[in-house]
């Protein structure tokens, strides 16, 4: 099979620039301010709720939620609510014209509950009223008769250790006949033999929390009825094309009658993936019923109980190693709790199992993973997508192995780390672009690892320091989760300015700036010439979802292909105008000249104007499809992702031995992102990802009452780090090992930036505790709350009392 032209373009650009140092590029790798920064510091109207004033006479939609976390619905009576002043209509599942489902991967999630409610955020009715207050008050009058069922919050009530078989229990999804959403496995080598040969075997159980995204902008959608029977929706969504599909399905409309526009998002982190579909569908329903603009606006409480979370994990790991620290095998059983609905759970489970042995040479592995339902808030996408959970377990295991063997944690990682030419646990050959060892070495040097590790040993005081390392890898883009493609449009305007359209959204991560830098570098024009349009399903090409750290690689490749083709055409025209070989054309807008005759210039505007008269098209569409991923369901063998981002994190913590309070003092992050495309954004990510990961490590979890209600539905009870909680210094370091199928060699960073933070902190805390393997084994769950760490100190009398 011949290579598609777009792959050839990407590879050609990589080959040509492979040895060029990043500092020699004009725009790539530079600290360029993001395209939307000025509108943001002016406080302009760029978020969904800011647009409400632009629409006259809107209606407001309030979601009436269930009172029970698990119950059968006997009857819904909305007659009282409909009589309430200001109420226009109250909708239930019966009013849905299309299919009552917003399940992301499998159709298990009704938009409006019909037969059952399965968690405390399920919507039973929608009140449409003249004001949000009217709607909320009327919501209390919606009368639902329930038959309460047993509430299951513990995934170990669904499956059991030793094979993860499903137990007898009250079914949450009786319509599916099972509460196991999906199962995955890896079978590599001979695990029995590995165990026999092992000098040490470390077994331990790990738990990770249900993390909440806590983006500061809560969910918002505005739907406007269109004259043709269609609807336009402004929604907080990361994936406008997925949102369109969901809305079209609920309304029973063809895709082209539903237009979804995604303005700037006030944070997303994965959380604005499927709730975007839900709020857009609710607003659209109300707009079509009332023929008026309809607004959905969540309070913080609604946001916390109403959108997908990070899957909590319970896992049992067994690591086997030789005396010299060489990993011989990994055996594990992993349970991911997806809450009431699958959401992206099946994909999260798959990404978790792919990464379940860490970035190491593992020849023998036996891993089983099950994603199960409970009556918690549903879990879905959250930055890292299953990888932070398994990485916590794997990286704690590596430290326990090191401790047991008396080897430095850095040494055991260097001994087993993946290098160029190695195969992953799935048998995938990594023939280039593996910068893990370099990342470890650079982080170790910057953090002063060996010195501090020695300095912090055998402390006696009340305040003790500890230093820990964790490493990670993270598959780029969506791999075997689906058709992995992206597209982009670049249109050069007649005055030389440029319009760039992509279906990829910005929820703060700033990856779009990376793409702008790629276009600028390729065309030879400053990024300031380029305007980024809001993603709009009616105007921008489908670029696939804005997930999986895929924007820079996939979106960047599509834009690179478009820009490259435009550049070829412009080079040819310029060569006619300037009289030299097209290869010699230099575009350094506003100047265009031949490399051997820089004095003889034309301007960029002139070149564009001539294109207009000479019939050279100035719009281009770029497309890129990732090589199809391979995955054998029975063995977990194949090539799950096209390539991997690598990283090493070192955290330096201070532990108050009397209270158990942990504070991170300093941290170093080193990531191999192939090529540094967007320095400003990359630094922000390394630091911001660290802070969010630190929250995951130290303070964040959702707590439930036995009947399935969430206790902490506010930002004073759901703790996230504030300006007073962050380390003095977080030092980002970049490794650029390249990737042949990435734009200029780039790889993704969005999710990797959180993956190994928690284990690096946990390892540092275990170091500070300093009680040997037994104590260290107890550091096996996050968040590392003060009471939990204190309980370890008390149990082992580590304070000497």
């Amino acid at each position: 099979m011949s290579k598609p032209e777009y792959v050839e373009i990407v590879e050609k650009v990589f080959d040509k620039t492979r040895s060029k140092p990043t500092k020699e590029f004009k725009y790539i790798g530079k600290e360029i301010l993001r395209w939307d920064a000025i509108s943001k510091i002016r406080g302009e109207k760029i978020f969904v709720a800011d647009l409400i004033n632009l629409f006259k006479n809107p209606v407001f939609v309030y979601s009436v939620r269930t009172k029970y976390a698990h119950a059968r619905i006997k009857k819904i009576d909305v007659s009282e609510a409909e009589k309430y002043p200001g109420v226009i209509k109250v909708l239930t599942y019966k009013d849905i014209p299309g299919i009552n489902d917003v399940g992301y991967v499998i159709p298990d999630q009704p938009l409006l509950a019909d037969k059952k409610v399965r968690y405390i955020g399920d919507t039973v009715a929608l009140v449409i009223a003249e004001s949000l207050e009217n709607a909320r008050d009327a919501g209390e009058l919606v009368n639902v008769e329930y038959e309460p069922l047993e509430v299951i919050l513990d995934p170990l009530k669904i499956v059991e250790w030793g094979g993860l078989r499903e137990k007898e229990h009250t079914l949450i999804h009786d319509e599916r006949g099972s509460d196991v959403v999906s199962r995955y496995k890896i079978r590599a080598g001979d695990i029995k033999k590995a165990e026999q040969e092992a000098a040490v075997v470390i077994e331990n159980e790990y738990r990770t929390p249900m993390q909440e995204h806590a983006y500061i902008e809560t969910e918002a959608a505005i739907a406007i009825p269109e004259p043709n029977g269609g609807v336009t929706i402004y929604a907080k969504t990361q994936c406008p094309f997925d949102t369109r599909r969901a809305v079209a399905q609920v309304l029973g409309l063809p895709f082209n009658m539903v237009r979804v526009i995604a303005p700037s998002l006030g944070g997303g982190f994965g959380g604005a993936e499927d709730v975007g579909n839900e709020i857009a569908a609710k607003a659209a329903l109300a707009a079509l019923v009332t023929k008026r603009p309809a607004v959905v606006l969540f309070t913080r409480e609604e946001s916390i109980i109403g959108h997908a979370k990070r899957h909590p994990m319970i896992a049992r790991y067994k690591h086997m190693a030789a005396r010299d620290g060489t990993l011989l095998g990994v055996e594990a059983e992993i349970i991911l709790d997806t809450g009431a609905y699958a959401s992206l759970g099946p994909f999260v489970g798959w990404r978790a199992i792919v990464h379940s042995t860490g970035p190491y040479r593992v020849k023998n592995a036996k891993i089983d993973l099950a994603v199960v339902y409970t009556n918690k808030v549903y879990a879905g996408a959250f930055r890292g997508f299953g990888n932070p959970q398994v990485s916590f377990a794997v990286e704690r295991q590596m430290d326990l192995l090191a401790e047991e063997l008396g080897i430095d944690p850095v040494e055991i990682r260097l001994k087993n780390a993946l290098r160029n030419g190695d195969r992953t646990v799935h048998g995938q050959l990594l023939d280039h672009g593996v910068g893990l060892v370099e990342a470890i070495q650079k982080a170790v040097e910057a953090a002063n690892w060996y010195e501090k590790r020695k300095l912090y040993a055998n402390q006696k005081g009340l305040l003790r320091r500890g230093i820990g390392i964790a490493v990670m890898y993270h598959g780029n883009s969506i791999g075997a989760e689906g058709a992995d493609f992206s597209s982009a449009t670049i249109i050069i305007q007649r005055d030389g300015s440029i319009i760039f359209r992509t279906g990829l959204t910005d929820f703060g991560q700033g990856a779009i700036q990376g793409i702008v830098n790629i276009i600028a570098e390729t065309l030879g024009v400053p990024p300031t010439y380029i305007k980024v349009e809001w993603p709009d399903t009616a105007a921008t090409p489908d670029a696939g979802p804005t997930v999986a750290s895929r924007s820079t690689v996939m979106g960047g490749n599509a834009a690179l292909v478009a820009a490259y083709r435009l550049r070829q055409r412009l080079n040819r025209l310029a060569s006619e105008l300037l009289g030299c070989d097209p290869e010699k054309i230099v575009i350094d807008a506003p100047d265009v000249y031949c490399s051997d005759d820089p004095e003889n210039k034309i301007t960029w505007q002139e070149l564009v104007e001539q294109s207009f008269w000479k019939g050279v098209p100035l719009q281009e569409f770029g497309y890129f499809r990732a090589p199809p991923a391979e995955w054998d369901e029975e063995t977990g063998q194949g090539a799950p992702y096209m390539h991997y981002t690598f990283g090493a994190i070192i955290s330096d913590v201070e532990l108050d031995m009397e209270t158990g309070v942990v504070r991170v003092k300093e941290a170093v992050t080193a990531y191999d992102i192939g090529r540094l495309i967007n320095k400003t954004g990359a630094d922000l990510h390394a630091i911001g990802g660290y802070i969010q990961g630190m929250g995951y490590a130290l303070m964040e979890d959702l707590y439930y009452s036995p009947d399935g209600k969430v206790y902490n539905v506010s930002l004073s009870t759901y703790h996230v780090p504030t300006a007073l909680d962050i380390p003095e210094k977080i030092t980002p370091i970049w490794v650029e090992a390249g990737f042949r199928r990435g734009p200029y060699g780039a790889k993704g960073l969005g999710e990797p930036s959180i993956v190994a933070i928690a284990p690096s902190i946990a390892n540092a805390v275990a170091h500070a505790l300093g009680g040997g393997v037994q104590v260290s084994k107890d550091v096996n769950k996050i968040p590392l709350t003060p009471d939990y760490i204190y309980s370890i100190i008390k149990k082992y009398k580590l304070l000497g009392k």
């Binding site: 360029i32 301010l33 800011d50 922000l684 911001g688 962050i726």
Partner: protein, 179 residues
Amino acid sequence: MVETIRVNLKVNGKQYVLDIPPDERLIDTLRYRLGFTSVKEGCGRGECGSCIVLVNGLPRHSCLTLTATLDGAEILTVEGLAPEGKLHAIQVAFLETRGVQCGFCTPAFMLLTKALLDKTLDPSDEEIKQWLASAICRCGSYHYYFKAVRKAAEYLKKGKILFDEKEVRKNLYKLPLLR
């Protein structure tokens, strides 16, 4: 029938006479009645800090404030930091230190900076942290915002308060602009 209360408010230098329902929150007056949407609602409980505005020069959660209690008050939002075509030194500092990510919390952080620097141009590190801990930035730009406060203080010490927006753009990008 809901009665209203007459309130005289000066917002961003302009005088308004408003008849307000007694239970209307300042955030709703600013966002929906007057259109100052830089003021953001993130929690409605005074926790996230995104709704912070300056009332008579001091930070205040507009979600926990009833407009009817503010008769005669002066209010500043980010829209009022600089006139059309200009940028305030604080805005310039926030741009130059490059910490803006999703941007939802940024207006509150800039107003906190304004109130702090109105009190002192030499705040201690701990003071900066205490003040900026009034709002939550989930993207994690805090370190950048600390730097922005220092940078803004430098400008203000030199008496540089307003900057020409076009000049700022030019200097920021150090790149040619099309126009």
